[in-house]
């Protein structure tokens, strides 16, 4: 049943996500700078950016429609919902039944459709290019992500993210080879979905190679702030999902206050390590051509399918 502590925990999880997400982006940026022997920007740079953007006037293109102005809020809402149902600290989330893992894919899909539509709204060359590429990455990534979810759902006998995490976190030490496959596939998909290096470059200045950046070229002021914030929330959501699914230790099982408090530093530590690794991988890889992306995501899909098959062969009762 929904308890007061559960509601508080839920509100806290959302707030934590809102606060931590820009920090995570800042941390990844800083690590990237270290890896590349540059002077690192301040850790809190994303916050300054958001503050600055919120203060600025919105400069709209003449051709921008009402959809263009609504889209940032919808995208932001989708990402908040995603962060609300992914267990970061505790699995006792009253909002969790609202969307299981399949619906979570749907949430990201909805945000993707809105950002692509918004990109094409003003009717500029780069905007439509970005929108088309984003949808391309989307339809390649979603099947792979679903196969990962299938593998996990079969292990936990549930598609509810909270139940999966609970099952995985509180089991006796059993090695699931299928999880290794699923984990690698999930990493591939997260790179593509979050516009990170092998697929897209978040720091690019070449318009023709952009995906995410090309879509938001026309945004400014509070709209841009919301989209940037939503992008960092997405990175946070994917990181938390990955951590919760493949390294679930330390997530509080229920409304246990002490466990919840203990989960916070652990989460910070895990995110810090994750961000560090992400920056490292981004540094040693080169961005690939857009038409290599199908191969990259095809590999992710194949790994996920292999995970599923291995699960059926090795881990089901013979």
């Amino acid at each position: 049943m929904i308890s007061i502590s559960g509601l508080l925990g839920q509100a806290f999880a959302i707030l934590l996500a809102l606060v931590l997400a820009p920090l995570l982006s800042g941390w990844v940026g800083q690590c990237r700078a270290w890896f590349q022997s540059r002077t690192a920007p301040p850790l809190l740079l994303p916050y300054y950016m958001l503050q600055k953007l919120f203060r600025k006037d919105v400069v709209l293109a003449h051709g921008a429609s009402s959809l263009f102005r609504v889209a940032p809020f919808v995208i932001f809402g989708c990402m908040v919902l995603a962060c609300a149902i992914i267990p970061s600290l505790s699995t006792d989330l009253p909002l969790a039944p609202a969307a299981d893992a399949l619906a979570l894919v749907g949430v990201f899909g909805l945000a993707r459709v809105f950002i692509s539509l918004a990109a094409m709204d003003v009717g500029t060359s780069f905007g439509s290019l970005g929108g088309r590429r984003e949808m391309l990455i989307g339809f390649l990534a979603e099947p792979a992500l679903l196969m990962v979810i299938f593998t996990l759902a079969m292990t936990a006998q549930s598609t509810s993210v909270a139940t999966i995490v609970e099952t995985l976190a509180h089991r006796e030490l059993v090695i699931y080879p299928s999880l290794a496959f699923a984990g690698i596939a999930f990493t591939f998909v997260s790179f593509a979905e979050n516009a990170r290096v092998p697929v897209d470059n978040p720091a690019t200045h070449l318009e023709l190679t952009m995906i995410h950046e090309a879509m938001i070229l026309e945004y400014s002021g509070r709209h841009l702030a919301l989209i940037e914030w939503a992008a960092s929330l997405k990175l946070y959501a994917y990181s938390c999902l990955g951590l919760a699914l493949f390294f679930p230790w330390g997530i509080a099982p229920g409304d246990n206050f002490l466990a919840l408090v203990a989960a916070i530093p652990l989460l910070l530590l895990k995110l810090a390590i994750g961000g560090f690794l992400l920056a490292g991988i981004e540094t040693v890889n080169a961005k690939m051509r857009i038409f290599r992306a199908p191969e990259f995501l095809g590999t992710a899909f194949m790994l996920a399918v292999l995970g599923l098959l291995v699960r059926l062969l090795l881990e089901s009762k013979v």
Binding site: A61, L67, V80, P97, A103, L110, G127, S128, S160
Partner: protein, 669 residues
């Protein structure tokens, strides 16, 4: 006086539709009377039919005998839960389409409005009779009436040659399908000669004959529904027909074929063999993938939607296949889950696809343009149509919180159980098929973004679009009604499923109904909330709350100032409408990645061209692999027969005489 039974009311509704249609003949040129009186009347009848069907769901089956038709061969009618679900669909969706049609049909070329009104309402009545028929005779009569009336509707603008060709192609394939259905019924009577459905249920067919009947039914109903390879009429007929007719055909008529397939495979045939499911699943997957890939590369907005209908029918067939597989292994609970997905997708698709087709109608009226390459930016001129179309687009892309996602979610949930199948190959291959279903859904998102963004967003590609006007009141009401259905189907899945559960229970003996309401009306948890749950209401409320709260907070803490200026676009100076993606450009990644799936004729510009241009024409492989060889073979056979044609009547009489002689000599007992 005995109270009227639902089936009686539905019969009256069918007669009323016919009467409304006939009234149209009274004043065939009086457009105002026909559009503002008769079509709304038809909509009201549809509303009645819908509510009657909704009310009768869960009740016992009712039968009626209609003494028309041949002597000693009356029409048997029956309203059970399966028919009721589809009558419900027909009734409620036709309300929106009829209201829209009230604003749509105007004076113009082609068929006179009065005749159109007759054809339209005969079409509606015949679909109702298809759903109510309880013997093969009544079914086939209604089925053929439906095919003929829709043929005349498709060829409304019969002065255009390509429209006539599309109509004939449709009629041809409809008849090939009808023959298969007739043969299937013939097999199911088992030689007993009793063509009533009750008689067919009583037959015990051997597995071989049952399989023959099933495959014939799959081919016959598949031809009507648009399953590959019998889909070719669909992308031709839908763009040719007026938009309300396309909406009706795509939204409702395709579902009558699904109804027929369900009726035959789960009601009339008792035995179910597992490989039937595999066949349906495979055909469905191919159809879905084919449909969605072709829909992404279309440049005509109605063709795009027609291919998208093929895709959705494919997904429904996948669901039917899964149901058959589970049913064959007596896993009735899971079969019920898959069946619910099938029925739900029928409902969802008929609402959102009609909505989208009607939107193209409004766009067509406002701009006289069907080609995506000449549209753009219409959200500025047609905000109503644009925002209502967005509901259809999101539902069609299978995204939460609208209706398309619910059925996709249910389908994927039932796929998740397929590893439990007691068959070593199926339990490995079927889960992977789920990935293809997701690929199809994601590609549908691509196609829908293309559809929406090219028509409604961006800069106007033609100067003439500045004069476009928003839809009229009747059209808006019709669109809003269908958008409302899409929304309700999206956010109230438990409520809807508990109503249509009666049909699942009738066909499979098991349903989802018991567990649904334990958790409250807002939660959809078909097995248990720990296993899987989805609460679209909470979903919608959370996003809406974040949206409003975020907006309020931003305005409160900062400001709401807006300035307008030219677009930035990285400072490029040429920002005309031609700098945007064209319809062809948008689908370039698909053409490139899935190149072997298409048959393309491309022209690339070279550096020396005085007037460089790029063009691409995508054709259907099936034309070249299947239809053209068949057509050529028919052509060759007929040139052979031409040799027999002397042209003199004496020669023809001699042929008949020789035939008679040979028959007399050979066919002796």
């Amino acid at each position: 006086m005995t109270s009227l039974l639902p089936i009686d009311i539905l019969l009256i509704a069918a007669c009323a539709w016919l009467a409304v249609g006939l009234l149209g003949l009274v004043a065939p040129r009086n457009t105002r009377f026909i559009s503002k009186t008769l079509f709304p009347l038809g909509a009201a009848i549809g509303m009645v039919a819908g509510f009657v069907a909704l009310d009768s769901l869960g009740g016992p089956a009712q039968t009626a005998v209609l003494v028309i038709g041949l002597p000693d061969l009356p029409f048997h009618l029956r309203l059970d839960n399966l028919s009721a679900v589809f009558v419900l669909l027909l009734g409620f969706v036709s309300v929106g389409i009829s209201i829209f049609a009230a604003g749509y049909f105007r004076k113009g070329e082609g068929t006179a409005p009065g005749l159109l009104c007759l054809e339209y309402h005969v079409f509606l009545a015949s679909m109702l009779m298809v759903l109510l028929a309880d013997d093969a005779y009544a079914f086939m009569v209604a089925w053929e009436t439906m095919a003929l009336s829709s043929f005349f509707l498709v060829t409304t603008d019969h002065r255009h040659e390509e429209i006539r060709r599309a109509g004939f192609l449709y009629l041809l394939i409809a008849h090939v399908g009808a023959i298969a259905i007739l043969l299937s019924f013939g097999v199911m009577t088992g030689g007993a000669g009793d063509y009533s459905f009750a008689g067919m249920r009583a037959q015990e067919l051997s597995p071989f004959w049952a399989s023959v009947a099933f495959l014939l039914a799959l081919a016959g109903f598949g031809a009507k529904a648009g399953l590959v390879p019998l889909h070719v009429w669909l992308p031709e007929a839908h763009p040719a027909a007026p938009s309300p007719v396309s909406a009706m055909m795509s939204g409702v008529m395709l579902k009558t074929a699904i109804y027929g397939l369900l009726r035959v495979s789960f009601d009339l045939l008792h035995t179910t063999i597992w490989w039937w499911g595999v066949v349906a699943l495979t055909v469905g997957l191919i159809t879905a993938l084919f449909g969605v890939l072709y829909s992404t590369v279309q440049n005509d907005m109605k063709r795009l939607l027609a291919y998208s209908s093929i895709e959705n029918i494919g997904l429904i067939a996948v669901g039917i296949g899964l149901t058959l597989i589970f049913h064959a292994y007596r896993m009735e609970g899971l079969a019920a889950l898959a069946m619910t997905a099938v029925l739900y997708h029928c409902l969802a698709h008929s609402a959102f696809k009609s909505l989208l087709f009607l939107c193209t109608g409004s766009v067509l009226h406002a701009t006289k343009e069907r080609s995506l390459g000449k549209l753009g930016g219409l959200i500025h001129r047609m905000p109503w149509v644009a925002w209502l179309a967005l509901a259809g687009v999101i539902a069609s892309a299978g995204l939460p919180p609208l209706s398309g996602f619910v059925s996709e979610w249910l389908l994927l949930q039932s796929f998740l159980f397929s590893p439990g199948l007691p068959h070593p190959w199926l339990n490995m291959v079927v889960p992977v098929a789920a990935a293809l279903v997701v690929l199809v859904a994601a590609l549908a998102g691509f196609a829908m973004v293309k559809f929406y963004a090219i028509i409604f967003l961006g800069q106007m590609r033609e100067p003439g679009l500045k004069d476009a006007h928003d839809a009229g009141t009747w059209e808006k009401v019709g669109l809003a009604w269908l958008a409302l259905i899409t929304l309700l189907l999206g956010i109230l899945p438990s409520t809807v499923i508990s109503r249509i559960d009666a049909a699942t229970r009738q066909l499979l003996g098991a349903g989802l109904g018991d567990k649904l309401h334990e958790q409250g009306w807002w939660m959809l948890a078909p097995i248990s909330p720990e296993r899987a749950s989805y609460e679209p209401m909470i979903f919608l409320v959370t996003i809406a709350a974040t949206l409003l709260l975020g907006r309020w907070l931003v305005r409160h803490l900062y400001h709401g100032r807006v300035r307008r200026t030219a677009a930035w676009d990285c400072g490029y100076y040429f920002q005309g409408p031609r700098a945007q993606d064209t319809a062809e450009g948008f689908s370039q990644p698909i053409r490139r990645i899935f190149e072997p799936m298409f048959r393309m004729e491309r022209h690339f510009p070279t550096a020396r061209d005085a007037q460089p241009y790029y063009s691409v024409k995508v054709e259907d492989h099936f034309w070249h692999w299947l239809y053209l060889p068949v057509a050529n073979a028919v052509g060759r056979v007929s040139t052979l027969i031409v040799a027999l044609q002397g042209g003199r009547i004496a020669v023809y009489l001699m042929y008949s005489f020789i035939t008679l002689l040979v028959l007399l000599l050979v066919a002796r007992p």
